[in-house]
Symmetry: D2
Subunit: 371 residues, 4 copies
């Protein structure tokens, strides 16, 4: 505990690239933007395969030490929270072992490469009693959380439609090569990378999906993972809609767009304008239309931590909110669910991903069942 009575928590991280930067920034900002923080993150150690890169990352982000062996992280008793940002193939083993070593665990999405692997991770980790979070960070966009709160409060009425699509365009280059294009490391392409986000928000906002009628497609010759998926879906609550993800939608860099129609109103969202929520209320006003709500009011989610209304936040802040939520769950021994995604949510998203693959292969509408 520091002088001001705020307890510290030792953090160990696996991975230092894009997600390493995003999570490190999240942990660092919690300490002063969310005041007082539930716990003060202490960046103890970071692990990665490339010695030069991981040592620079440690210096850059302020970790006390670095290692090329993730087992070192797990063995370190000063680390109470293990944050796994490695390639998808490296999610299962380190995460499970860390939990079994008594550390709270965060794991990037998708949880596993398949529903089977995800189930295994969830079950093994849940059995240990530690807190677990699958880093579906888009639940922590203020506009998305506001949408959830409005739906929970019944402001949309009965939900009829969800249409979600995650459109990016960086995939249209045959010379690209990252672990994201290797099935053994990534499991899938746009499906697990982008589609899983759509599935998670669909579940977060509308509830579980009951069936999918889907297509999984690879456009670029020689590419070994999917470039795009399309699905018509049914929800357990009776809503119907679509789930789409692609890396080949030229002009869209990070357009995770969704729309929900209910019997009392509708909501629309686009991640490229993540501070805005479009809200329609069927309230009989002669001036009828969607409101462009800038989600930055003092009574909006997480806004107490930021700036005066209208001074927008960036994509990076979603990690501040997410990791803050997880630290609060640890500090107060409260549930990560339902506002944070647990490993159960990671598993459930994986079941939908698997069903999309099955449906594409079978040509049939596939029902989703959970173990």
């Amino acid at each position: 505990m520091s002088a001001d009575g705020i307890r510290e928590i030792g953090v160990g991280m696996l991975g230092y690239a894009f997600m390493g930067k995003a999570h490190s920034n999240g942990f660092r900002k919690i300490g002063y933007m969310t005041w007082p923080p539930p716990l003060r993150p202490k960046l103890v150690a970071i692990a990665g395969r490339d010695e030069a890169a991981v040592s620079e990352a440690a210096d850059r982000y302020g970790f006390e030490r670095w290692t090329t062996s993730w087992e070192d992280i797990i063995a370190d008793p000063a680390i109470e929270l293990f944050d796994n940002l490695g390639p998808n193939a490296l999610h299962a083993e380190p995460t499970i072992l860390a939990a079994e070593a008594g550390k709270h665990v965060v794991c990037e999405k998708p949880l596993g490469r398949t529903a089977d692997e995800s189930f295994e991770i969830w079950q093994r980790v849940a059995a240990t009693g530690v807190k677990h979070l699958c880093a579906f960070n888009y639940r922590f966009v203020p506009a998305v959380r506001l949408a959830r709160e409005m739906i929970e409060a019944g402001e949309l009425g009965e939900i009829r439609h969800f249409r979600g699509r995650y459109l990016q365009d960086w995939g249209d280059d045959p010379s690209l090569d990252t672990w994201r294009f290797h099935p053994s490391e990534a499991g899938s392409g746009a499906l697990g990378d982008l589609g899983a986000h759509v599935i998670d928000l669909a579940r977060f906002l509308v509830g579980d999906i009951s069936t999918v009628s889907a297509l999984v497609h690879t456009f670029l010759p020689g590419r070994q993972v999917d470039d795009a998926i399309e699905a018509a879906v049914e929800f357990e609550v009776g809503a119907i809609g679509t789930i789409e993800a692609t890396r080949l939608a030229l002009g869209h860099r990070n357009a995770f767009q969704w729309e929900i129609n209910g019997s009392k109103g509708s909501l629309m969202f686009d991640m490229e304008r993540l501070n805005e929520l479009q809200v329609f209320r069927n309230d009989g006003d002669r001036a009828r239309g969607f409101k462009t709500v800038l989600v930055s009011e003092t009574n909006h989610p997480w806004w107490e931590y930021w700036w005066p209304p209208g001074h927008i936040v960036g994509w990076g802040e979603t990690f501040v909110h997410e990791l803050h939520h997880f630290l609060a769950a640890i500090a107060n021994d409260t549930d990560v669910a339902p506002y944070g995604a647990t490993f159960e949510d990671g598993y459930r998203a994986a079941e939908v991903c698997d069903a999309i693959v099955r449906s594409s292969a079978s040509g049939k509408r596939e029902a989703i069942s959970y173990r």
Copy 2:
């Protein structure tokens, strides 16, 4: 022929409600907005079931006479063009008989209530040699035609995705009753009314659809036609995407939205802003983004007939363009296809509609085959 050498063409119409107003306005404006007109429409007679209403419509729109018997229209030798705007159940017989009486025929969409009926109409009419147009008027939105021209010119490259959805919200009222809710008259609900438009533009812009994996759903208790459809689709050219239509998307009055992604660029459109086309070109410009193109330049489709650039047109003008195209085809004996929809296009859209119904029932991806 009138004094100025512009030949007249006698027009007979069946139907006087929403579409009667739209088509009458179209015919009347052709005579002076598109100058010189290919033919000058002469409104000879209008038919409808309700004597008071049809007589008022004749007075209002300037028809020389009215009748409660559509057979009168067909029997009148002064009528060279028969425009069928009746309920869907009244499409087949009058249209076929008019064509067999040597009249050129326009029929509102959907052509028939099923693919079988549509095929029959097409075949019988095609056999007579008259010109035929299935009134998919959205091909005649300037922005849609500009999109088609850009795609034809190769400006989008290879097409990867089409996402089309037609969102309206007037259906959420259980007390509503029009012929559109009676299966015998309408055939289907949102599917034939809205979905058929999406299918036609998908075909117009991307090409024929090869498979559908679809859901057809009715939300309102007691409603006898579908409220909404969802489909994941494959195109013959290899593109994949979605087709959606609903009458229960609160906040959207006439939001026929579509997006196309190709290997060189993308296009987006929304009928509620029908004068605009969003255009993305992957041209390496550091200023990278979608252009909001106001389709009103002197070198844009049909703009020679209208106002200076920036002075937008309305939804009603699509009928001016469409009927002008049909009159030009008659005057010059040119093909209605490919820019206008023929009865073959009406039939092909109906095959896709039928496949959507089949897929929803079978739970399988259904291939579309044409006779």
Copy 3:
């Protein structure tokens, strides 16, 4: 009177170009779109300088005869309404003489080339007792009228700001030559052409302007009229704001944009999306923002005459609404004001235009006083 009891009114027109097309289309559509029409326009005669052009216009728009002498129009007893669309220099004499001949008169804006000339036209015409309309057609955009109704009903509270700008970009071509660039014919450039529209809507929505602090500027070498004006303005009700007009705003074709802020709410508008009104209500809703209102509901201005909600209208329809309003005033002997602009409004706008010119020359804030 025709067979259906709708009285006809003989119309004579001076001018056949852009505005001739717009007004002719307006008169023709009134007869069937606004049903039943207050009077049925009968296009008796059209006058213009170029014999070939005016004879073609008569044939095209359906006038019974044409003439190269506007005096013929005024002498014709079958003409009860004189519509003056000539160059600004030709507004005064024909309009006054027509009124003195007992005809109701419409005159395009600006009414005169100066406040003096406008005052003379107004006074001479008002003295005759005929109905008079200065064709500020933008009062007849449904969204503009809805704005006026909301303000009148107090929905905005006390008005603090009006910001209006009319941005076009066709002026950036030194080779262009039309009467609009000749001071003797046009009086002014962007000021009378575009600025007058801004001034009229400012007056229509907020009330009379009390002072202007202005700049009038010509950018293109050799151009004899102004290209742009800028003004900081005060209103009699205490609001302050800006009035701007330019023909050199590249990228804007017809962007007549205005915003009004009151103590209870705000409104925003852009003529390039003329079917939309942006509405902000300070009502305490947690979902706070501007609504994009598609002004096409059955309870919106003039919408009873058009299509189902969401099926938008075009720029040309403003003339249908405006001329319908004038015909109704004639038919029922009701006032053209306050929803239509009278010649008094034309004169008052001219006083503001003159004050802008004075302020630019004097370098002083100029008060506007009315005779």
Copy 4:
């Protein structure tokens, strides 16, 4: 110097509220987001009037110590950079003394309460030879910098128009009381708070302003500073336009909007969508319109420090960029100008503010002259 060879710089701060949070966040993030940082900020001491508040701020943001006496900061040799975020009345003395003590100085805008005071600060500080920055942070929005680069490269041609307005709405509450409403502490209201930002970007993007024709107005009874200003302005390069600022534009939280029209293209911007720049190029493309450019490409300003394209940044990051720029100027002994605002820029903005006040009082167009 730390182990990695990155030199540290001791920072002392005056003020701990809104701006204290923004600048502290800026300094903290420079150390790991902009890698390698030009200097590594070491937060040495923070000063403020309220002991409880300033001590908490020190703990929260990680300052080594705190004080209620700004003189302590200036006396501390470990502090090489003094960052003045106090009320406007506290800008002059501490800033000047800090510079005279050899510290580099940052001062929030407006630099002084008047042009005289601003000139004094600039002259006294410039004489010392330290680096100085007036914290007009909006120069450091990526879209604003991209705009500057495009204009410098001639992509807009000759500039004709600048229209800038800063619209907020929090001022419409008579019960509000902060130092911002006290003339002795703030100098002015919307003028210095918001108008100064508009003036600075006008100068940054178009160049110096030569005349203003302005209104300064207070709407709320009893309020002692202005609520809003309006000005028609001329630029030295020949452009004309408007500058507006208000705290009473309901519905706008932080809408700092500007538009620039040149002879080759136009740009538009809105701070509420600060990741976007609207770009129009008059390049003859048939698809003519403004592009919505998401300023987040790898070749866009500062984007090397952030996320993949499309993952937007927030308002707070402007301070990261700004303070990074200042640290680089210190580290490399390069000029703060022209991309950063120096105290000369602070003074020049103040001259325009003073001219606006003079013009409002005199009723005359006021020329701006610099000492």
